[in-house]
């Protein structure tokens, strides 16, 4: 993984010192909250319902075991002994005291971490495929380009005050989008060179996003030569920076600009801008690519026999607990004899994405003992141990299980993505986490859970859609109706290759009825699907909403 050089470390250390001084002046009353707010936001420090919230960047979700231990230590020393992994592959601390934040940032700097650009109207943490570097279907490791984008976008003087926040995602697997690139401001897909050969480039998507105006991204360029990545991104950002609306924050995202101009006009302006800067200083030379790629070389894998048959035997073995876990939480690795282990942060009854200090330390220990000291955070709020020798799967399962980290539900309907909702968030209208935990408790039969197959369920506590409810196969949106919590159900969303936005099923359900409504949706699917091979999403697309409406609303 990437390691800071002298310049990186100096910049981050200086930033900590700068923020320490700003905090000191705020606490002494030298500067007001109005003056301090933009300064703290530039360091990822928000004010939530009960406390400050500090968001720490985890570039493209990749952590070393050393970094994960530091995150655990910070949570124990300065917070309440846990952290919340977010849909941007970051971590959030919900209870830091202001005077401690500079100390936290100083400790993070010792392991090459920071919170820069985790808030504000700038380019945020670039996200990626959580299987990057180990996926069998990957054409190119996207982390190299994520890191190149990170270095380009960090403290980019031209893009420090964009009309609104800006999110980029990169996937290196041409046929399996696990990074939700179609719902990002810019989505970058590695694609083979259409003229053949071994070379590759990028398809550039633009104008996707969720929030109050959900949009699926459109193609801005079908094929971009790889050496032009930064110059083209720069051209897009320049057009957005120039014409994006600054008069209305609800219309300030690039998706609104793309919609207003139309993709043809937007693309035309980008190409015109690009023509001015392409082949210039931002051209990615082979030497620069190699410099960054050197940090992402494969670890020293052992030469092992293929293990797919062994893994299958575990799935079908007598130990049903292990078998279920292997079936849902273990993925084939690109290197024979290795497996990818998904660590579920969705145990029954607990907030999705939360991990205690002890759990983080256990995962770090497992990464060292059974892998190469690497851990990945997924945008679905789980963790990944990317390099486990398959023969160790039973041991790894046993240790995860003892710490409530082996819920066999990855990709299943209880693998819920949920925003913090009204339990923590200043913007929320309704609670999200209790709905998630109650759904998890309602669907407590593991055979039933696995019979349901792969279903994504996303919950947001308000229209800002931090739980990405528009792209859940089942989406739940919390709303406020005259002081009462109500929840809209949406069906048919997807953030994958077949990206689509869910549509509202019907009138919203009161708090007391929404969990049962979800159970009814699932029963309807089970009763009426053509076979167990027909996925929930495929059933919704084939059958439409009527079967669900009939069961949920009857004649009313």
């Amino acid at each position: 993984m990437y390691r800071y050089d002298h310049y990186d470390q100096t910049i981050v250390d200086q930033r900590v010192a700068q923020f320490r001084d700003q905090v000191s002046r705020r606490l002494s009353g030298e500067i007001s909250e109005d003056e301090f707010k933009p300064l703290r936001l530039q360091n990822g420090l928000y004010m939530q319902l009960h406390a400050y919230m500090l968001r720490v960047a985890i570039p493209y979700g990749l952590l070393s075991s050393r970094q994960l231990r530091k995150l655990a230590e910070v949570s124990r020393k300065y917070d309440r002994g846990y952290g919340h992994f977010s849909t941007r592959q970051n971590i959030q601390y919900n209870w830091p005291r202001l005077q401690d934040v500079p100390k936290i940032l100083a400790e993070l700097a010792t392991v090459e971490m920071h919170s820069i650009q985790t808030s504000g109207n700038c380019i945020r943490n670039t996200t990626s495929d959580h299987l990057a570097g180990v996926a069998r279907d990957e054409l190119v490791d996207p982390r190299v380009y994520c890191e190149i984008i990170r270095q380009w976008s960090t403290f980019h003087p031209e893009f420090a005050f964009l009309p609104r926040k800006f999110k980029i995602a990169v996937t290196g697997a041409p046929t399996a989008d696990r990074a939700a690139v179609r719902v990002h401001d810019i989505g970058v897909r590695v694609v083979p060179d259409p003229e053949g050969g071994d070379d590759y480039g990028f398809q550039i998507l633009v104008g996707g996003g969720l929030g109050r105006t959900p949009r699926i991204a459109q193609v801005c360029r079908e094929f971009l030569p790889r050496e032009q990545l930064l110059s083209y991104l720069e051209a897009i950002l320049r057009v957005y920076n120039r014409h994006g609306r600054r008069d209305n924050k609800f219309k300030a995202r690039i998706k609104i600009l793309v919609g207003a101009l139309g993709i043809a006009e937007f693309k035309g302006q980008v190409e015109e801008e690009w023509a001015q800067i392409r082949d210039g200083a931002m051209t990615l030379t082979q030497a620069e690519f190699d410099r960054v790629a050197a940090y992402f070389q494969d670890p020293d894998y052992a030469e092992l026999e293929p293990s797919d048959l062994f893994v299958d035997s575990l799935k079908l073995g007598k130990d049903r607990t292990l078998g279920r876990w292997v079936a849902s939480n273990v993925i084939g690795h690109k290197i024979p004899g290795y497996s990818i282990v998904m660590v579920s942060l969705k145990p029954k009854g607990k907030p999705p994405g939360d991990a205690t200090a002890e759990q983080m330390e256990l995962v770090a220990d497992l990464a060292d003992r059974y892998g190469f000291g690497r851990v990945v955070v997924t945008h679905e709020q789980n963790l990944v141990l990317p390099d486990v020798e398959s023969r160790h799967l039973p041991e790894v399962h046993a240790q995860l299980s003892a710490s409530s980290l082996a819920e066999p539900n990855v990709g299943k309907v209880t693998d819920i993505i949920a925003c913090p909702g009204l339990d923590y968030c200043n913007l929320a209208n309704a609670r999200s986490i209790p709905i998630a935990t109650e759904i998890g408790e309602r669907i407590d039969d593991l055979d039933y859970l696995h019979d349901l197959g792969d279903i994504s369920l996303n919950i947001s506590g308000c229209i800002n859609a931090c739980g990405h409810h528009h792209v859940g196969n089942i989406g739940i949106l919390g709303i406020d109706k005259q002081g009462e919590e109500f929840y809209q159900l949406m069906l048919g969303g997807s953030s994958s290759d077949d990206a689509s936005l869910g549509r509202i099923l019907g009138p919203a359900f009161p708090r007391a009825e929404v969990v049962e409504a979800v159970a009814t949706v699932l029963r309807t699917y089970i009763d009426q699907r053509e076979s167990a091979d027909e996925r929930f999403l495929d059933y919704v697309r084939r059958a439409g909403f009527e079967p669900f409406k009939e069961r949920l609303y009857g004649d009313a």
């Binding site: 606490l27 002494s28 009960h50 202001l98 002081g483």
Partner: protein, 104 residues
């Protein structure tokens, strides 16, 4: 008649705090100084007094409360109830105690 109190977030830890008599702050909602709708000048004066204390409090605002059958002030909205009482969920990790006094 509607009752209001002034609330904001403590600068030191972000916790909800409430303005009480004498322009001092408390972490106990029921100890706040209420002001009725028919005293708009007093409400405004309290808000101004709160805004003047930016070292202690962030973004003060008036919130509506009611007086319960026990005579105690209580929040009306779910948001303010959760804000006053803490998250409704079973948290991961142990809650820690917070100071009862507001740092001045």
């Amino acid at each position: 008649m509607k009752l209001w109190i002034i609330t904001g977030s403590a600068t030191d830890d972000g916790a909800p705090i409430y303005l009480q008599t004498g322009a001092r702050w408390t972490r106990t909602l029921s100890a706040a100084e209420p002001v009725a709708d028919d005293q708009p000048q007093h409400k405004l004066a309290l808000l101004e007094a709160a805004r003047a204390q930016q070292r202690i409090v962030c973004d003060p605002y008036p919130m509506e409360v009611r007086r319960g059958s026990d005579g105690e002030l209580a929040p009306i909205s779910l948001r303010e109830k959760i804000r006053a009482e803490g998250p409704t969920i079973l948290r991961v990790g142990a809650p820690t105690s917070r100071p009862t006094a507001v740092s001045a």
